[in-house]
Symmetry: D2
């Protein structure tokens, strides 16, 4: 078995964006376990991301998180990235870690806090201008913990106002990617809890606003691939924050908890034309490595997306459509499962070899000495984490 | 403590619609337990609904389900209802109980089946014309049981086409109420699984289409009152199918599983102006009584909605707003909880007495002899149920 | 790549039991869609089960459900099975479909109903004596729909009393397999809702009672393989009722919803010695085919279990243990995933060919003409279903 | 309406234990929002707990968390508590915040780490000896994040070994309270994920080990009151960690998310004799106040438990039993709901006044000036939190 040239092309051109924060320390509310070699600066995070790209060949961009990745000169940071063979991707705003945000940011009842939050969002567009980033990814931790704590509807009004102000600030080609999340850190209501809410806001914002699907942000039992298919049909899917989870927003490596779900999602992406560059879908990882080593965790995650994509590309679309229109339940399911059960790893190894990459990125990284090097070099300073 | 005149007015004018099918036999896939006195005809169902209205004073309409309530002369049925002091409410279409609908109705891959389903929907508008009903309630059991079984996106196209055809057939003042449901009877995808999907379709359909919230149709952890507040803000809330559940779509008496949630929902209704007649919100019960007696089950349910509404009306809106804008988390919560903890039953009993009703509807029904009468009279014939 | 002889042996000796009711009609509370060729009698169900065994080679027994499979002469039925190359497996009691069981069976507040239910259970042991069955599988639909409806603790007392009476009636070598289920058809409490409850009862009953794990009967997020590992460690795992689900107890084909979960379960079975015949683990399917054809649905399900088992047997136990004790999170995970990602289908096809079976059981069944034959022959009479 | 003397007695003698950590700062993984007046030392935490007892009259003990509350002289700390009118309650061990515990504590694959964890548990028994505490509360964050990461069964063996060693160290009258939790911080398996696992371990440990039910630690849809009733029947309920949640382990104020559930739990406690001192049930709060003020948050929580208890005590047990044995579903439910709907707040206010307490503890605290006093006094030093 071999990949067709179409499949090869699609796999070669797929790009998966890495989050800078995946290389810093992270953990749960109970404990953050530090690791050796963790970057101290945005520059070092980008260097680690470049390692992932070096071994996988399909992770050429890295998302920033402001203020965690705040630097004086973003153009210089972008230059640094290019020197390492990668580029700056989406800019992620952070309006949840200031003491002022205890009751929310852009939906806070206090207009002074709202203004502060909006200013930060606008600052992020400034950063985009400097880095050449297309996408502003907005996740709002806003919500309430107790019934009655605040007015659900008024918070929507405030949110809408802030989003409109950001939209007005966008330059041509720049986009808002609006993220939703069921719960956490707000525990009673979240101001953008589901795709419907994000979608409704994007509709009002216009063509420059799209929904981003974080695979860990749904209620139990939610069919994520349905949402993906629906948003693609509506032309409102902006991208993915990939990760996986068994329970809540666990931020495990994408594909680790339910590889079949990841395959089904990628099947809908392929079906909906989402792999084509003109579709403008950003495939981003958004996950943290609490107990596993960070660079290998990212490599493994990139490979998991790639393997799921390869399987999705192997689905026999004609046979599937034929079985579907014949109402052949088991036959149609079998066409899909046949692709899923295929072991694409040898084919992907071959593809890598053809591109001059090591066929086994995990082994190649282990052999590269990078882990030992950064552990030795990155001593002193303050390891990056969520708080900085 | 007494109700203010505003609260009294709101409570007196609230109308809760009963489902005709609540009076027939129902059950689970494992067993339907029959009960004595169950109606055999739509006329008898309406007679039972009229009993509920007689004792509660706030349940003046009854929804029909076609074909379960199919009659030759709907105008005569409407007349029969008026004679009993009630009226015909929403018309509920049923496109899930014909053998042709094994793979769906309006989203079926087979165009012949789709046409059949659409014809039924149009027939339901004919019924509305005859009964003077405003609302066509559409719930589609459509979906798939296995990944790959059918094309998610194509099913949306088919669904949209059917909805548009129904919309085109509506007369002035008639509305589509589009219901969503997470799962069951479809077990992998449902074609209208969440409010976002229903909302997106309604937007395309125009002003005569609105979303109906069935309180039992959500994923675990979904904040239903948020959806209610959001749809009210968007002007797209069409009404409720009230019931309650501990697990999935259990169809228990509304308020039985989580009375606090029902209160929070009614609080958002009050907050969003949804009690005003001009808001056009249909407050409907949609639940079945598998093991409890049916007429008392409906009376209890109507009272549960009324009690939750009364509590919601008791919320001190000024104090709440003040605490909210002061960021007083515990204070704002306390304002809400104060209303919830109030025992409104004596006040409602008084209100009933003032209106010439028995203050205790459950006891009054038990004393009325109706249960014994229908058990004695309704012998022979075929008890109504979901299948007929 | 080839299977080692140990793996071959394990795969050849694995036995998966089929449920007689999988061949009858089934559906949801909304609709049962009939299919052509559905058996009318227990004998015809066994004939269909024999077809599944003919093509898979690993499904040599069929479970009965009393009274759905009630016959005058069980010894004759067992003989009929042997003539067709299979045998009678577990006896499943049914104490949920009589009008008397509206409020429960062995936990009913009415002692007369309890006695009736117990008598049925004892009758099932009589059947076991006649068929030579080892296992009595007990699933109780008992529970309540509303808080307060009955006394939770008293129901446990009644349940314990009935179980003890059944235990006393068992012959040597006979076992009780006690099933648990989170909810449905009871919607507030279920009397055996989780493995802990089943386990506690089994402990009191003694060595002849074990827990059966139905893979569809858990709360969202439950880690089923943990339960399997725990019960194996305690020596209290009696067997599986395999099926799969996306939401609640959907009864889809095992492995259809989450093949990775099925693999993890089988990994714990292998790890805990559960494949060895002396472990006494009954691997049973318990699922229904609502919209898909029934015999192919069973063949596909048997193959899914076999494929998951094969993958579990491929796990490199030494490498896994080494990575685990080294605390190598990604390394240990990779050992497991390597087995999971392996496409075992060619190896299993080869194994079948070696045993004289068609390498592709699905295709072989399709080509066998059996489906057409039963559709033509089984005309008239009453198709089997849950109600008969 | 008045309380009967039995109900008064039960309410007066109910004791609710406060967690020392409720008075320190806490938050989510995203952010800990500091508050003014937060204690810096165990002594200050106890002083805050004493305030809660002063205003409620039913919170006379405070649980410690080691090492967060580590002091040189525990006897002196106990003396300090007595001086303030309270006493030291349960000792909570902490084996999840050392870097060594990245892969677990007593179930860690590394025997050196296991020994360290066990030594801490034994140290906690030393503390108990010094403080006179009866209960050692054990919650293990142990588990794994990825399938294959460690051996599920081997971890149980290690856990059992550690528990046995602790049990051997207990003095007469001392108890192990073993807590379970579905997930978090472990995201794939948790070593004590459910009551069944905790129960099985307690059975092997003997009479000095009991299960503690944390109300926030269950899978969605779990019926907690069933577990309470079951454990009481088995004599293995050790106590509660009260809190509430809408989603996962949110640690909101008990009764805030689902006051009806809290009532149902207390109803089973009353039904099972769990309020009697000789039942040995520890009623503890275990929750954190992330955005609300901490002392009022504790007062509110104590009142919520008290109100739920009062309602549960008002249930007409005779009427309930009569309706239950008559199979009167709606009647039995109505007896329970009648108690729930009763507004017990005036009666409890009266009870407080009779005991010389302010009838409104929340208002009394607000008027006491304590909040202002500690905000002014507790300046400098390091506010207590989870990390110290």
């Amino acid at each position: 078995m071999t990949f067709s040239s179409d499949v090869r092309d699609a796999l070669i051109h797929q790009e998966i964006e890495l989050p800078s924060w995946a290389f810093g320390n992270s953990g749960t509310r109970f404990k953050v376990f530090g690791q050796p070699g963790v970057p101290r600066t945005p520059e070092e995070k980008i260097a680690d991301a470049a390692q992932v790209h070096r071994h996988t060949g399909i992770a050429p961009s890295v998302a920033l998180h402001i203020p965690w990745d705040r630097v004086d000169d973003y153009a210089a940071l972008a230059h640094h990235a290019r020197d390492l063979g990668v580029r700056i991707g989406a800019i992620n705003a952070n309006v949840f870690q200031d003491d002022d945000y205890r009751l929310g940011s852009v939906a806070n009842p206090d207009p002074v806090v709202r203004r502060k939050a909006l200013d930060h969002l606008l600052e992020c567009v400034d950063v985009m201008d400097a880095t050449g980033s297309r996408d502003l990814k907005l996740w709002f931790a806003d919500g309430t913990n107790y019934p009655g704590q605040d007015d659900i509807r008024a918070r929507q009004d405030r949110l809408a106002e802030a989003l409109a102000a950001v939209r007005d600030r966008l330059g041509p080609g720049q986009r808002i990617l609006l993220e939703y999340k069921l719960f956490e850190p707000a525990f009673y209501t979240t101001d953008v809890p589901d795709w419907g809410t994000a979608y409704a806001h994007c509709l009002r914002l216009g063509e420059q606003a799209r929904v981003v699907v974080d695979t860990g942000h749904h209620a139990p039992g939610t069919n994520i691939e349905f949402i993906v298919a629906f948003l693609l049909r509506e032309g409102r899917l902006g991208g993915f924050d990939f990760n996986s989870r068994f329970y809540a927003d666990d931020d495990l490596m994408v594909g680790a908890a339910d590889p079949f779900q990841l395959f089904r999602i990628m099947h809908e992406v392929v079906r909906g034309g989402g792999l084509a560059p003109e579709a403008g879908i950003a495939f981003m990882l958004d996950q943290c490595h609490n107990i596993e080593p960070k660079i290998p965790g990212q490599i493994r995650s990139v490979l998991n997306v790639q393997e799921a994509t390869a399987k999705a590309l192997l689905v026999d679309a004609h046979a599937l459509a034929a079985a579907q229109s014949a109402g052949d339940v088991l036959g149609a399911n079998a066409v899909l499962m046949d692709a899923y059960h295929t072991d694409v790893r040898p084919l992907l190894a071959e593809l890598r070899a053809d591109r001059g990459l090591d066929p086994d990125p995990m082994a190649a990284y282990a052999a590269s000495g990078h882990a030992e090097k950064i552990a030795a070099e990155r001593v002193g300073g303050r390891p990056a984490g969520w708080g900085a």
